[in-house]
C-alpha cells in the first residue's frame, strides 16, 4: 500500500515531480562539475607550472664556487668538479620517478667562434646540453628528455640540434651581433681543441643563453675534454606545495615522519631521494620556482573550493525551496489522509520516502550530467578531462538526500500539525 501510494503520487503529477527533479538534477550537476574540477585542478596546474622549468638543481657536492650569473657558469673548464653522465638513468628509479617530467644536464665551455665570413673571432660561451636525448634506464628501457621538456619557454627559430650530430643553435643576441644565420658553419675553438658546427636554428630564451651558443652535451664534453661528464643538472618534477612539514630536516625526523615525508611528492623530498641515488651530488630546490608555485596553487585551489561551495549553497537553496513548495501544495491531500486515519508519522514517512526517491533519481541524473559538464570544462581549459570519481558520486547522492530532506523538514513538521477539518473545508 505504501509503495502504491508513492508510485501513485509520481504517476498523478508527473509534471510537477519532473520540475522538482530537474531542479535537483541541475543543481547536483553543477556541484558535481565544480567538485570534479576542484579535485583535479591541483594535478592539472602542477603540470602547467612545469612551464616554469626546473624546480630542482643538482650540482657536484665537492665543488669550487660557481661563477654563475643568471644561469650560465663562467668558470674555466679546469676548475670545479663534474658529475658522471652514466648515472643519470638512476633518477628514474626513485620512488617518485613518475613525477619527474624531465631533466637536462648542462656544461658550459668558454669558446672562441670564428665565422667563415668574418676574419676575427668572437668570444662567447658554449652551453652543452640535451635537446631531446634518450637516456638508458637501469631496467633497460629508455627515457627521452632534455631542454625541450625542462625549458619549454625556449623558442627555436629553425629546428633544435640533434643530440648526436655536430650541430648547434645560436642565441638571438649573439646571432644579431655576429650575423650568423641557420645553415652557417661555425668553427669553435676552446683551449687547443677545435670543432665545426652547423647552425640549425636561432634561440630566443629571454635569458643569458640569448648571448651564447647551445650545442649537444657531447660537443661541450669534447671541447672541454671531459667525456661523459656534466656540471649541473636541471630536474623538472611535479610536486606538492610545500608546507611546514615539508621544510623539516629529514635527518631529525623519526621513522614514521620520515616515511610520511618521503611519501609526499614535496620538492624537498624528491631532492632528498635524488641525492640518495646519485652519489656525490647536492640537490637544491629552486626556491623561487617552488615557493611561487606552491602559493599560487594553494590560492587557486581554495578559490575553486569556494566556488564549488557557492554552487552547493545555491543548489541546496533551490532544491530545498522546491521541495518545500511541493509539500505545501499538498495540504489538502495531507488533510484527507489524516481524515481517513493516517498518523502524522506515517504521512511524514510517506512524503520523506517520496522526496528521497526523487533525490536519488535527481542526484544520479545530476551526477551523470555533471561528469559530462566537467569533461567539457576540463577539455576546454586544460585539454584533459578530469577522472570521474566514485567519491564525488557518493557525496552527491548524500547531499541530494540531505538537501531534499532538510528542505521538506519544516513544511512536513507543519503538516503534521494540520487539522484535517479546516483543510477539507478549503480554509
Amino acid at each position: 500500500m505504501f509503495l502504491r501510494l508513492v508510485a501513485d503520487s509520481f504517476g498523478r503529477r508527473p509534471r510537477r515531480k519532473l520540475l522538482t527533479g530537474a531542479a535537483l538534477a541541475l543543481g547536483m550537476a553543477v556541484v558535481t562539475a565544480a567538485f570534479s574540477v576542484s579535485l583535479d585542478v591541483g594535478d592539472r596546474l602542477s603540470h602547467e607550472f612545469r612551464a616554469l622549468g626546473a624546480n630542482l638543481l643538482i650540482t657536484p657536492q665537492a665543488d669550487s664556487l660557481p661563477l654563475e650569473i643568471g644561469g650560465v657558469d663562467y668558470r674555466p673548464v679546469n676548475s670545479g668538479s663534474y658529475l658522471p653522465q652514466q648515472d643519470l638513468g638512476k633518477i628514474k628509479t626513485i620512488f617518485w620517478r613518475n613525477n619527474i617530467v624531465g631533466f637536462a644536464p648542462v656544461m658550459e665551455v668558454p669558446a672562441e667562434v670564428s665565422i667563415a665570413s668574418q676574419a676575427s673571432s668572437v668570444k662567447t660561451t658554449l652551453v652543452g646540453t640535451w635537446a631531446h636525448h634518450s637516456v638508458a634506464l637501469p631496467d633497460e628501457r629508455t627515457y627521452a628528455t632534455g631542454m625541450e621538456q625542462t625549458n619549454s619557454w625556449w623558442h627555436v627559430d629553425g629546428r633544435w640540434f640533434r643530440d648526436d650530430a655536430a650541430e648547434c643553435i645560436v642565441g638571438k643576441s649573439f646571432a644579431a651581433r655576429t650575423g650568423i644565420k641557420p645553415g652557417d658553419t661555425l668553427h669553435i675553438n676552446s683551449a687547443d681543441r677545435s670543432i665545426a658546427l652547423t647552425v640549425t636554428g636561432i634561440l630566443s630564451a629571454g635569458g643569458p643563453e640569448d648571448d651564447a651558443i647551445v650545442a649537444p652535451l657531447q660537443i661541450a664534453q669534447q671541447l672541454a675534454n671531459k667525456p661523459g661528464q656534466y656540471r649541473r643538472l636541471y630536474v623538472s618534477a611535479l610536486t606538492k606545495p610545500e608546507d611546514d612539514f615539508a621544510r623539516r630536516n629529514p635527518s631529525t625526523m623519526n621513522a614514521a615522519d620520515l616515511e610520511r615525508w618521503s611519501c609526499s611528492p614535496y620538492a624537498s623530498s624528491i631532492a632528498y631521494q635524488v641525492k640518495q641515488v646519485l652519489p656525490g651530488v647536492d640537490a637544491h630546490v629552486i626556491r623561487r620556482v617552488a615557493e611561487g608555485e606552491g602559493s599560487i596553487l594553494t590560492r587557486v585551489r581554495t578559490l575553486l573550493w569556494l566556488a564549488s561551495f557557492a554552487a552547493l549553497l545555491a543548489a541546496a537553496l533551490a532544491v530545498g525551496a522546491s521541495s518545500a513548495a511541493s509539500v505545501i501544495e499538498r495540504r489538502s491531500e495531507i488533510g484527507l489522509m489524516k481524515a481517513i486515519g493516517a498518523g502524522s508519522g506515517t504521512i511524514g514517512f510517506l512524503l520523506a520516502a517520496e522526496q528521497l526517491l526523487l533525490a536519488f533519481v535527481g542526484g544520479g541524473v545530476g551526477y551523470a550530467l555533471g561528469i559530462i559538464l566537467a569533461r567539457i570544462l576540463g577539455e576546454k581549459i586544460f585539454g584533459v578531462a578530469p577522472q570521474p570519481s566514485i567519491l564525488v558520486f557518493v557525496v552527491i547522492l548524500a547531499l541530494a538526500a540531505c538537501v531534499t530532506l532538510l528542505g521538506s523538514a519544516i513544511p512536513l513538521h507543519r503538516a503534521s500539525r494540520y487539522e484535517p477539518a479546516p483543510i477539507l473545508r478549503g480554509e
Binding site: G27, Y74, F174, G207, T302, A310, S322, A325
Partner: protein, 382 residues
C-alpha cells in the same frame, strides 16, 4: 490615478496575505543575490590578486645593454641614467633593481686563500614591497653589509658578521657579511653588495650590467609595458624574462578561464534554481488569477500585477542579498589571499539587476495562467 492606487493596493495586499511564502521567496532571491555578488566580486578581485601573486617569482622584465657589433669591450654595461628612466616609468605596483656583476677575489678573516666569486652590486630602484625575501637580500644604505649566498659562505667558511675583503685588480672593498637563505639558484654562489661598492670595485662608476623589473599585471598589460619601456629607453634591450612571462601568461589564462567558467555555471544555476522555486509558488496563484478575471480584470493587468510583485521582491532581495554578498566576499578574500577583497561598486548594481531579472523571468509561467477560464478554477478543476 485611482487605477494606479488600486494597483499598488492589491500588490500590498498580495504581500500581506502570504507572508510565510513570500519570506521563502525573498530568502531564495536574497541568497542568490548574495552568491552572485560574492562570486562576481571575488572573481574580479582574484584575477587582480593572481597577477600580484605571480610576483613571488621575482623579476619578469630585464633591461640589458644592447649588443653593438662595434663594441669590443669585455663587459657590456648600461648607463645609470637608463636605470633612472626605468624607475620613472614604473607603474604603481612595480619595482626595479639595478645590478652590476663582476668577478672578484674574496678573502675573509677565516679563510686562508682568497676565493673567486661573483659580486652582484644591487640597488633597489622602486618600492620593493612583496618581492621574495627581498628584505634580506638588499644591503641597507651605506652600511657595509654584504649578503653572502649559502654556497659562497660555505666555501669561505663564513660566520655571520665576519669581515670580508673584496678585491679586484688593486681595488679593495671591505664589508661585513650577512648570510642569505638558500635560494637554490645562482644567487647562492653570489655576494650581494651595495651598487656603489661594486661600481668602485669594478671601476665602472655610474654603470650597471642590467636592470631587473618586476611588474604585476595581466599578460597583455605586461606586453604593453615592455613595448612602452622599450620606447622610453631605446638604447637598451628590454625583454621579458620568458621563463616567467610565458608561464605566467599560460597559468593566468587557465586560472581565469576556470574562474569564469565556474562563476558562470554557479550564476546560471542560481538563476535556474530561483526560477524553479518561484514558478512553483506562482502556480499556486491560480485561484487569485481566476477570481480577478471573474470580476473583470484584463489578462494584461493581472499579469502586470504579478510581474510588479516579482520585480519588487527581486529588488528587495537583491538590495539586501547583494550587500550581504559583498561583505561575504571581503571576508572570503581575506581567507583565500590573506588580503580583504576590495568591493567593486559595479558589482552591486549588476547583482541587483540580475536578481530582478531572474525574479521577473521566473514569473513567466504565470503567462499560462492567463489562459485559464475563471469558471474552471471555481469549479476546482484544472
Amino acid at each position: 490615478m485611482p487605477d494606479r492606487k488600486m494597483f499598488w493596493r492589491i500588490v500590498r495586499r498580495l504581500f500581506a496575505a502570504q507572508r510565510g511564502r513570500l519570506l521563502v521567496i525573498l530568502l531564495a532571491l536574497g541568497a542568490s543575490a548574495a552568491i552572485t555578488a560574492a562570486l562576481l566580486n571575488l572573481q574580479v578581485d582574484a584575477r587582480d590578486r593572481l597577477t600580484k601573486e605571480f610576483r613571488v617569482f621575482g623579476a619578469n622584465i630585464i633591461v640589458a645593454p644592447r649588443d653593438s657589433k662595434s663594441s669590443g669591450a669585455d663587459v657590456l654595461t648600461l648607463d645609470e641614467s637608463i636605470a633612472q628612466k626605468v624607475r620613472q616609468s614604473l607603474p604603481p605596483r612595480a619595482s626595479a633593481d639595478s645590478y652590476l656583476y663582476l668577478v672578484a677575489n674574496v678573502s675573509s678573516t677565516g679563510s686562508a686563500q682568497p676565493v673567486k666569486a661573483v659580486i652582484a652590486g644591487k640597488r633597489t630602484e622602486g618600492i620593493n614591497r612583496s618581492s621574495w625575501r627581498s628584505a634580506i637580500v638588499t644591503p641597507r644604505g651605506n652600511e657595509n653589509l654584504c649578503s653572502v649566498g649559502v654556497k659562497a659562505a660555505q666555501q669561505l667558511h663564513l660566520q655571520p658578521t665576519d669581515h670580508l675583503t673584496l678585491k679586484n685588480d688593486n681595488r679593495e672593498e671591505p664589508c661585513i657579511s650577512e648570510i642569505d637563505d638558500a635560494h637554490g639558484d645562482a644567487q647562492d654562489s653570489q655576494i650581494v653588495v651595495n651598487l656603489d661598492a661594486a661600481q668602485r670595485l669594478a671601476s665602472l662608476p655610474g654603470k650597471v650590467s642590467l636592470v631587473q623589473v618586476s611588474v604585476a599585471g595581466t599578460p597583455r598589460q605586461i606586453r604593453d609595458y615592455i613595448a612602452a619601456l622599450a620606447q622610453t629607453v631605446p638604447s637598451a634591450d628590454v625583454h621579458g624574462l620568458r621563463q616567467f612571462t610565458d608561464a605566467e601568461a599560460k597559468i593566468y589564462n587557465r586560472v581565469s578561464g576556470l574562474l569564469t567558467a565556474t562563476t558562470a555555471l554557479v550564476l546560471a544555476l542560481t538563476g535556474l534554481c530561483v526560477m524553479a522555486a518561484m514558478s512553483n509558488v506562482a502556480m499556486e496563484r491560480k485561484n487569485d488569477v481566476g477570481l480577478m478575471k471573474a470580476i473583470g480584470g484584463a489578462t494584461r493587468r493581472v499579469l502586470r500585477l504579478f510581474l510588479a510583485e516579482a520585480a519588487l521582491l527581486g529588488l528587495v532581495g537583491g538590495i539586501v542579498g547583494a550587500a550581504a554578498g559583498l561583505l561575504l566576499s571581503i571576508w572570503l578574500g581575506k581567507t583565500v589571499f590573506g588580503v580583504a577583497a576590495r568591493p567593486r561598486l559595479i558589482v552591486y548594481p549588476i547583482s541587483v539587476a540580475l536578481t530582478i531579472l531572474v525574479a521577473i523571468i521566473s514569473s513567466y509561467p504565470l503567462r499560462r495562467l492567463a489562459n485559464i477560464s475563471p469558471a474552471s478554477v471555481f469549479r476546482g478543476e484544472a
